[in-house]
Amino acid sequence: MADAGSVIEAVRRSEDSRRRSLSAFALAFVAFGVAFAAIAAARGEVFFLRLATEALIFGGLALSADILLGYAGMLSLGQALFFGLGAYVSALVLKNVLPSFWLAMLVTLLVTTLIGLIAAVIATRARGVYFALITFGLAQVVAKVVFNTPSLGASDGIIGVPVIAIDLGVGQVTAASPAAFFLFCLAFIMALYCLCAYLARTPGGRVLAAIRSNEDRVPFLGYPVTRARMLAFVLAADVAALSGALYPVLRGFVSPELLYFEVSGNAIITVIIGGMGTLIGPLYGSALIVVLKSVIGSYTAHHLIVIGSLFVLAVIFFPQGLIGAVRPSLERRFALRAAPLRR
């Protein structure tokens, strides 16, 4: 039988190989991003740089959906509520208060945390399908309210958000430069990813995994389930909103469509295609979907038919998503490489 000292060591090794395979995916994502930016900038591909920036922004939304679905086991059909909220708050601050990126982010964070808490109180009491329907309903209500509020631009949304320069302390990034702003968004979204990946590994984050695995048992370990679900909900709301807050900086406008179900539904599809419960998967998924849309879209206007079919096939043949399909072999490789060193 294994002795005491080797148990923690074996557990650590097994957790390490899982963590490292995901870190490898994250590093590769950054490497792809930087390489893409270098090539696209050299060739002056403004359109593709802006498209890729949008993929990152919607990747942040998918990341937030994965916190709920992949970790806490909560299917939210209303993440667009917070994504749109972030976009609107950021647009309003930048246009009407001060064209300061960090102020817009701070206000977005505060407003979303408050509204996220209120929504969490309403939504997290419900489970499963009922939770999904409540989040769906909340997002629809807010979308319709925004659509009918003239002071928020009603159906037109808010246009004329100024092009801003983001102060980084050591220098500035202007949103007018597609390559620089793409790299900034890459860093921003990866920072959100790192935060989420860190939290998922802490004891608190692991309680979410426990809730997903067997919710009924968790109270008997001493953890209040509803509070944990609420915290996850607010965290996901903040991640979605901070991603959404980048949107008006990129596009110079926001519209009520950002709050629609299509956005929430796409986020879920992105999570599943990328790999649920991996956090990095949704970012790959978002990039993949944007690439497919633009490549297939250049051949046919009916690209949604193709993408829908691909989604069905992906769920049947790669239920673990892109990351899930590749990860096991990568994990084995890490395990093999790690083992001889420690023996």
Partner: protein, 271 residues
Amino acid sequence: MNARRRSSFGGGSPSRLQPDVDTGPLLAVHDLSVHFGALRAVDQVSFGVAKRSITSVIGPNGAGKSTLFNLISGSIRPDRGRVVFRDVDVTGWSSNRLLDIGLARSFQVTNLFFELPVFENLRLAAQRLEPTWRAMLPTPRSTRALRRAEELIVRFGLAHKATEAAGALSHGEQRRLEIAVALASKPELMLLDEPTQGMSHVDTAETAALIRSIADEVTVLLIEHDVRLVMDLSDHVIVMHQGAKLAEGDPASVRMDGKVQAAYFGEAVHA
């Protein structure tokens, strides 16, 4: 009664109470009742559980044993009566609050985190030994929880399965892990709901030895079908029948009790 006080109370959780002085029983149930529709599932049941004892609740199927456990452990609220644990009235407390003051339970139907590794099942349970603020620090900082999980996984003979999913364990191993998980937070009182359910004779004997060994550090309240096991293990036995308490006492006197023999042992011993 060997009501030895524990020198240290293990838990670093600030919400935990200080160990109280040996005034009365660790757990006292007064006049507890609950009904489901017309069925009086638990009917005016009162008893006490002394510190460091193994107390067993026996009775035929449908006698209300599991309902009694659910009432004590916060799963359902009683219609009437009180549950007093460590001199605190805990009637109607939520399960997570009860665990915080040292009342843990296991389940008759194995209730684990089947997708998670065996070690992680234990570590999650042991994490309650850490202060709450450590929940947002890296897991390796929670050394107390890790040591506790490690200690239990070795003691319960599951060390070689540490990184396997709990769902991949055999039935007997899962039943052992179920007890270990309940024990991980160093509770004062453990409610064990049919720990040997579905076990072979060999596994049952091993589990009995395990329960005896954990009784050194924790008070045990047990539901068990295996009468021989109960009589062998318990300091105190409570017999339930049709929701009410029929008799209680030490194993020998319960065995001699005429009412008990009529209602229960008559069939069960020869079954």
